[in-house]
C-alpha cells in the first residue's frame, strides 16, 4: 500500500446534539459521534461500517460540514481547518463530493439530468458547462447523451446512481463520500456502480469514503475498514486483515450475520441477538457488552480503549479474538497472501 500523506484526516471528531428536556434547563448533550479519528489517503477506498444508529452517516456529513462537529480537528493535506465555520467547509467541499443514499431524492425533480450535472461547475466556477463537455462527463459514468434531457423520475435506480456520480465528478473532487452507494440496487447492477468507482480511482486517483453495511460489497472494494458501534470506532485496519480475522467480537458478529448463499450452510441460531442500544442510554463499560457473547465482568465496568496494534490495526476490546485464526468467510475466496 502506498504510504502517502493523508488527503483528509479527522482527529477525534465528535458530534453532540442537545439532549431531551425543556430548552431552558440544562440538557445533557447526546453524543452521536464520540472522538472518531479516520484518515483517507489519495486513491484509497476506506469503508465505514456499522448498524443503523452507529453514527456512520453522521460521520460522513460531519466530515464535509453538513453537520457541525462539536469538537475535534479536520486536516486537509496536513493543513487544519481553521474553524468549523460554513466558510471553511465550503473551501473543503471544493475538493470533496457527497453521494447521498437516495440519489433521486437528492435531485431536483424539475431539473433535467444534464443541467443537474452542469450545476456544480457553474456554482464553483470551474470547468466547462458546454454541452459537449457535459456529454463527456455523462460518458464517464456510462450514460449516453440521450439521458441528459431526461428528468430524474425517468431513470432507473442504477442510472440515477450513475447520474449522481457524474454530478459529484463534475468538479473533479479528490474525495468522494458515498453513503450506501449500492442500497436498493439489484445485484446485476450494483457491480457496475462499484466498477465505476474503481475506474474513477484509477483515472483520477480519487479517494473514497464508503459508508455501508453491505459486507459482501466491502470485501471486494475496500482498502481499509473502520467499524463503528454507537458512534465509536471499535475496530479498524486493512480490509484483508479485518475480514479474514476480526479481532472485535462485534466485527465477528457482523460478518457472521451476513446470510451465505448456500443452503447447506444455514445457521441454527442468529449470531447476535438484540439491537443497538439507544445513545441516550449508553451501556456502562464496554458499550457492546450487552450483546457480546464473550462479555466478562470487567467489560461491564471498564470501557476498553482503542489500542494500536501491528499493521496499522486498532481494536477496542478487553478480550479480543485471536487475530491469526481464520474462519472461512462466505463465498469462495481466492488464496491471497
Amino acid at each position: 500500500m502506498r504510504e502517502q500523506p493523508p488527503l483528509i484526516e479527522a482527529d477525534r471528531l465528535s458530534v453532540d446534539v442537545p439532549g431531551r428536556g425543556l430548552p431552558f434547563l440544562r440538557r445533557a448533550p447526546l453524543s452521536i459521534l464520540a472522538e472518531v479519528s479516520l484518515t483517507v489517503r489519495p486513491g484509497e477506498i476506506v469503508c465505514l461500517i456499522g448498524e443503523s444508529g452507529s453514527g456512520k452517516t453522521t460521520f460522513g456529513r460531519a466530515l464535509l460540514g453538513l453537520v457541525r462537529p462539536s469538537s475535534g480537528r479536520i486536516e486537509v493535506d496536513g493543513v487544519p481547518l481553521p474553524d468549523f465555520s460554513a466558510r471553511s467547509f465550503r473551501a473543503l467541499r471544493r475538493q470533496a463530493a457527497l453521494l447521498f443514499q437516495d440519489p433521486v431524492s437528492s435531485f431536483n425533480p424539475r431539473q433535467r439530468i444534464g443541467a443537474m450535472m452542469a450545476e456544480p461547475r457553474a456554482i464553483a466556477g470551474v470547468g466547462s458547462t458546454r454541452l459537449a463537455d457535459i456529454v463527456a462527463l455523462a460518458g464517464q459514468v456510462g450514460l449516453s447523451e440521450r439521458f441528459l434531457a431526461r428528468f430524474p423520475h425517468a431513470l432507473s435506480g442504477g442510472q440515477a446512481r450513475r447520474a449522481a456520480v457524474a454530478r459529484a465528478l463534475s468538479v473533479t473532487p479528490r474525495l468522494i463520500v458515498a453513503d450506501e452507494p449500492t442500497a436498493g440496487l439489484d445485484v446485476s447492477v450494483q457491480g457496475g456502480v462499484l466498477n465505476l468507482f474503481l475506474d474513477i480511482r484509477e483515472q483520477h486517483d480519487t479517494a473514497f469514503l464508503l459508508i455501508t453495511h453491505n459486507l459482501s460489497v466491502v470485501r471486494h472494494i475496500a482498502d481499509r475498514i473502520v467499524i463503528l458501534y454507537l458512534g465509536r470506532v471499535v475496530e479498524s485496519g486493512r480490509a484483508d486483515d479485518v475480514l479474514r480475522a476480526p479481532r472485535h467480537p462485534y466485527t465477528r458478529a457482523l460478518l457472521d450475520s451476513e446470510p451465505v448463499p448456500d443452503p447447506t450452510r444455514r445457521r441454527a441460531e442468529p449470531p447476535v441477538i438484540g439491537e443497538v442500544p439507544s445513545i441516550a442510554r449508553r451501556p456502562a463499560g464496554c458499550e457492546f457488552h450487552t450483546r457480546c457473547p464473550r462479555a466478562q465482568p470487567r467489560c461491564r465496568s471498564e470501557a476498553p480503549v482503542l489500542a494500536d496494534e501491528a499493521g496499522g490495526r486498532q481494536v477496542a476490546c478487553h478480550f479480543p479474538l485471536p487475530g491469526a485464526v481464520s474462519i472461512p468467510a462466505p463465498g469462495r475466496r481466492m488464496a491471497k497472501s
Partner: protein, 344 residues
C-alpha cells in the same frame, strides 16, 4: 448445533392440498402492459417458497395479486388461482377482503410505513381483530400480548401504548409479523422483509420466520433479491424474469445446479460468491425488457443465445437430477454448468 433440516417437514405422500395453487396466471396493467405472464406456482402447507429476480421482473405484482391488492387498472386471468380453497379469479371485493387475514397476510419491505404513525400499536393491532365480535377487549388484548411475545418483543404489554416511531425498524418488522400471525393465516407473504434492516436484525427476523413455520404451521412466500436470504430459509425457489418463472426447483437444485442462463448470471453477480481479488465485479448488461416482447425475454442479454431462441418459445422442461427442477430454456440441458466462482 445441528443446522436446520433442508427438507420441508411435509415431504411424505400423499401431498396435502396446496395453500396456493396458480395455473397459468397472468396480470396486466391496462390492456397493453403485461407484468406477469402465465405463472404456475404451488405452495403446500408449511412450505417456504422464495421468488428471486431483478426489479421489474413482476415479483411484487405476483405477490400483490394473491391478496387482491393490485390497482384497479390491473387485469388478472388464468386457468386456476386458488388461495386456501377459494377461487381468486371469481372472487368479488367482499370475498377478497374476507380472504385477507385468515387465508393470507402480508408483511412489507418497510415496516416504518406499514403502520399508521398517529395511532398506538395496541390500537392498530386491536383494529385487526374487528371481525372477532364475541371476545372481550381483555381477551383481544391477551391475544395481542401473546402474539407480540411470540415474535420476541421485549415488554409486550408496555409496547401496546407505543407509537411506531418509538420502535426500531427491526422491532416494527416483528410487530408486523405479529399482526399478520394474529389472523392465523394459512399463507404469509413477505415482500423483501429484511431489505430495510441491518444484517444482525435480518438474521434474527429470518430465524423468527423459520421458527414460525415450525410453531404456527404457516406457509411462507418470500420475495427477495438477496440470494443469501433465499438460501437461508426457503424449501423451494422460483426465479422470475420479465413476468415469467424461468426456473423452479428445490433450494438445493437452484443453488447447486442452476440451469437457466439468467439464474447462472444472477449467481455470477452475487458479491458473496465472487472470489475476492477480482479486478472487476460482474454485471448483467442491459435491463429487464417489457414482458412478452419476445419469445424468450432473456435472449437480448443472454450469453449463450442461439438462433432458435428468437424463432421458438423456450419449452418448460424437466432438468437435472433434482426432482421437480424445471427450466424454461432451449439450451439449458446442454449448458448446465455451475456458475463461475463456485465449487461443487
Amino acid at each position: 448445533m445441528k443446522p436446520p433440516s433442508l427438507e420441508p417437514p411435509s415431504a411424505e405422500p400423499p401431498l396435502p392440498a396446496p395453500v396456493l395453487d396458480m395455473r397459468h396466471v397472468s396480470v396486466s396493467y391496462g390492456a397493453h402492459v403485461p407484468a406477469v405472464l402465465g405463472v404456475d406456482l404451488t405452495i403446500r402447507p408449511r412450505e417456504i417458497v422464495g421468488i428471486i429476480g431483478e426489479s421489474g421482473s413482476g415479483k411484487s405484482t405476483l405477490a400483490h395479486s394473491v391478496l387482491g391488492l393490485l390497482p384497479k387498472t390491473a387485469r388478472m386471468s388464468g386457468t386456476r388461482f386458488n388461495l386456501a380453497g377459494t377461487d381468486i379469479l371469481k372472487a368479488d371485493r367482499t370475498a377478497l377482503a374476507a380472504l385477507r387475514g385468515p387465508a393470507a397476510a402480508m408483511i412489507f419491505q418497510n415496516p416504518m410505513t406499514a403502520f399508521s404513525p398517529i395511532h398506538t400499536l395496541g390500537r392498530q393491532l386491536t383494529d385487526l381483530l374487528w371481525r372477532d365480535r364475541d371476545p372481550s377487549g381483555a381477551q383481544k388484548r391477551a391475544r395481542i400480548v401473546a402474539a407480540l411475545a411470540e415474535v420476541g418483543i421485549p415488554d409486550p404489554v408496555g409496547r401496546l401504548d407505543a407509537f411506531p416511531f418509538q420502535l426500531s425498524g427491526g422491532m416494527l418488522q416483528r410487530v408486523a409479523i405479529a399482526a399478520a400471525l394474529l389472523m392465523q393465516p394459512a399463507l404469509l407473504i413477505a415482500d423483501e422483509p429484511t431489505t430495510a434492516l441491518d444484517v444482525t436484525m435480518e438474521a434474527q427476523i429470518l430465524h423468527l420466520m423459520r421458527s414460525l413455520r415450525e410453531r404456527a404451521g404457516v406457509s411462507i412466500l418470500i420475495i427477495s433479491h438477496h440470494l443469501g436470504v433465499i438460501a437461508e430459509i426457503c424449501d423451494r425457489v422460483a426465479v422470475m424474469y420479465a413476468g415469467r418463472i424461468v426456473e423452479e426447483g428445490t433450494v438445493e437444485a437452484i443453488f447447486r445446479a442452476p440451469r437457466h442462463p439468467y439464474t447462472q448470471a444472477l449467481f455470477a453477480c452475487e458479491p458473496a460468491l465472487v472470489p475476492t481479488g477480482m479486478r472487476r465485479l460482474p454485471v448483467i448488461a442491459g435491463e429487464v425488457p417489457r414482458p412478452g416482447a419476445s419469445l424468450c425475454d432473456f435472449a437480448s442479454r443472454c450469453a449463450v443465445k442461439a438462433a432458435r431462441c428468437v424463432e421458438q418459445a423456450p419449452p418448460w422442461t424437466r432438468s437435472g437430477e433434482f426432482p421437480g427442477h424445471h427450466v424454461r430454456c432451449h439450451g439449458s440441458a446442454l449448458s448446465g454448468s455451475p456458475p463461475s466462482g463456485r465449487t461443487p
